[in-house]
């Protein structure tokens, strides 16, 4: 307090009182390192070592109990030729697409409407967010009954309008539609709220200017709203890619009652077996830990590839 008033206020940083630093070295920061250490210790034990170990494991054959046997690239060679894995990749991408595109469209429409409706906005947001609060297990059980062949609500509706009932959880595309519907239901409101947050950052003057220029609502949306929303759209797309391509609980709970060989098989004909379900089946049902590790790295690659593709697609629209 008593120091001479400097002409320019020196930048105040809390942890670097000018004098001590060179002498005591990094030891004087021990409190800070101690404060961040829990995360890094946990990461070391349950993150870094596991990831390194899973890489090591993927070059071995191991049933989880006996001794490990060096396999070189054999697991990866097998993975590339494994039609079941390719089937799982296909299923995952189809389910992801069936869920994501309707979800983004519906979320955007909802957000635009919420942005213009002045009354009850918070009430609507609360109601739309509710599906995201639920547990996937409970929801999958509920959707299982909605799509049930014998007494499901969807089939009852179809019957009422004179259409034959569909064995939703027994046909390849029915399974995918059911899973995708569940995911769309659960995530539309969540994304709508994120879109709404983005919409609220767009200055109203831009809309007024567009109206002055004689733009209709559709034109305004595509010329003003959408371009400014691209960062938020990118965020939603990347998050839904990373989570959607790793879907596990939805198909596992929804299809385990119709599964005959394994609770991770993804229903009849493996039609709902996602990549992560396949990973669990190979690892914990077949006790093939080495191959499971290779599958995990395969999933990782697919997710990274897909995220890059999505990123590029949205970015390129920027340059046009």
């Amino acid at each position: 307090m008593a120091t001479a008033p400097a002409l320019e206020k020196p930048p105040l940083t809390v942890a670097e009182p000018p004098a001590a630093r060179p002498r005591k070295g990094i030891l004087k920061y021990w409190r800070l390192y101690a404060a961040i250490s829990p995360f890094y210790l946990l990461f070391l034990a349950f993150g870094l070592i596991p990831v390194g170990f899973s890489l090591y494991l993927s070059f071995h054959r191991w049933d989880g109990l006996g001794s490990m046997e060096w396999a070189g690239l054999a697991q990866y060679k097998y993975l590339l030729a494994d039609s079941d894995f390719w089937n799982a990749i296909g299923n995952t991408i189809i389910i992801w697409a069936l869920a994501t595109f309707p979800m983004i469209f519906l979320a955007m429409v909802t957000a635009v409407m919420l942005n213009s409706a002045v009354r009850f906005k918070n009430l609507y947001r609360f109601a739309f967010f509710l599906p995201n609060v639920t547990s996937v297990v409970a929801v999958a059980i509920i959707f299982g009954s909605v799509f049930s062949t014998n007494f499901g609500l969807v089939n009852a509706l179809l019957h009422a309008v004179g259409v034959d009932q569909v064995a939703w959880l027994n046909t390849p595309w029915g399974i995918k539609v059911a899973i995708a519907t569940l995911m769309t239901w659960q995530w539309t409101g969540y994304n709508a709220i994120i879109f709404l947050a983005g919409l609220q950052t767009i200055p109203t003057e831009l809309y007024e200017a567009a109206r002055m220029d004689g733009a209709g609502p559709v034109q305004t949306f595509f010329r003003v709203t959408l371009p400014l929303m691209r960062p938020v759209l990118l965020f939603v797309l990347v998050v839904s890619t990373v989570t959607g391509l790793q879907s596990f609980s939805e198909p596992q709970v929804l299809l385990q009652t119709t599964a005959n060989d394994s609770t991770f098989s993804g229903g009849p004909g493996h039609a709902g077996q996602t990549m992560v379900l396949y990973f669990f089946q190979q690892t914990f049902d077949n006790n093939d830990f080495g191959y499971g590790a290779a599958v995990a790295w395969g999933i990782f690659l697919v997710v990274v590839l897909f995220s890059i593709i999505n990123w590029r697609l949205v970015q390129r629209r920027d340059e046009d």
Binding site: M1, L12, V14, A15, E16, I26, Y29, R31, L32, Y33, A35, I36, F39, Y40, F43, F46, G47, I49, P50, V51, F53, S54, L57, M113, A117, N122, R125, A127, F128, F129, L130, T134, S135, V136, V137, A138, V139, I141, I142, G144, S145, N150, F151, L153, A156, H159, G189, I194, L196, V232, V236, Q246, F248, S249, Q252, V253, T257, G292, A293, A296
Partner: protein
């Protein structure tokens, strides 16, 4: 006049569409309530029941006979509450350091943490299982609590929050008053970032309550599972026999979650979009 009429009509159409959306959002909950109040034979009948029946208490009784509902709910609560408090403490402590202090290696450590954020969970699943089997944690709640006790998302989130909310002048003043690092954290930083903590806490609780994949493989003893795992077992083994009971279980499992959400809804909905538009 015409334009007022037009805007009124548009407003009615808008609300009608939004209400339709709300009904679609709410319908599965309604459906679960309906199913949980009917016996299985009523559920299998046609046309489907759309109004509540009278079998709720019976379904509850069957549910409690089939699984240890309160036992597994207790396990879920134990894990979710413990993890939430640990995460709030460890994450905010680390976030405080990253937000407000300079020290050697800060940038590298922070970048490393953000990279960890991107590593998918299943890459760690097998080795984590193996490690925990070796140290004897498989089958106990420790296997669920310890790895979740601190996370990159929370540190990142709290750091962003603290950067803006805690003023350097405030910290300097407290320092002149002789406050050490821990006092600064506890008495200066924490009170200011309470809303950020509330968001992180509620989100962590919901995430833990709903976690399914890891508890499914880590809790090998069927008598000692979390509620989500118990529910899925119910669906797998009793799914075709007693749907009313399964639905009752699914519905009751949502109650604690809805309570927590109702308490923190304002916080969550207000803060949710922030991560995307920063």
């Amino acid at each position: 006049m015409a334009s007022i009429k037009g805007s009124l009509r548009r407003s009615i159409g808008l609300h009608a569409t939004l209400i339709l959306g709300v009904l679609l959002s709410a319908f599965p909950f309604y459906w679960a309530v309906i199913m949980s109040t009917h016996s299985s034979s009523e559920i299998f009948s046609y046309p489907p029941k759309l109004l509540p029946g009278s079998h709720f208490l019976e379904n509850v009784r069957h549910l409690f006979d089939a699984i240890d509902f309160f036992g597994s709910m207790w396990n879920s609560l134990l894990v979710a509450v413990t993890v939430t408090f640990l995460v709030l403490f460890f994450d905010s402590l680390a976030a405080f350091v990253f937000a407000k202090f300079e020290f050697p290696g800060r940038k590298v450590l922070f970048a490393l943490m953000m990279a960890i954020f991107m590593v998918p969970a299943q890459l760690q699943a097998i080795p984590q299982f193996v490690i925990m089997a070796k140290i004897g944690w498989i089958g106990s709640m420790t296997a669920l609590i310890v790895p979740a006790a601190a996370n990159a998302f929370g540190i990142f989130w709290m750091r962003q929050y603290m950067k803006n909310a805690i003023h350097d002048e405030l910290l300097d003043a407290s320092k002149l008053d002789g406050a050490g690092f821990l006092r600064q954290y506890w008495h200066v930083a924490l009170p200011v970032v309470r809303p950020g903590l509330a968001f992180l806490g509620i989100f962590t609780f919901m995430g833990q309550w709903n976690d399914y994949a890891w508890p499914l493989i880590a809790l090998t003893n069927p008598d000692n599972v979390t509620l989500q795992v118990a529910l899925s077992q119910l669906n797998g083994t009793h799914g075709t026999t007693d749907y009313g009971m399964v639905m009752t279980g699914a519905l009751l499992a949502l109650v604690p979650l809805l309570i927590v959400f109702a308490i923190g809804a304002k916080q969550i909905i207000a803060d949710l979009g922030k991560g995307a538009i920063r």
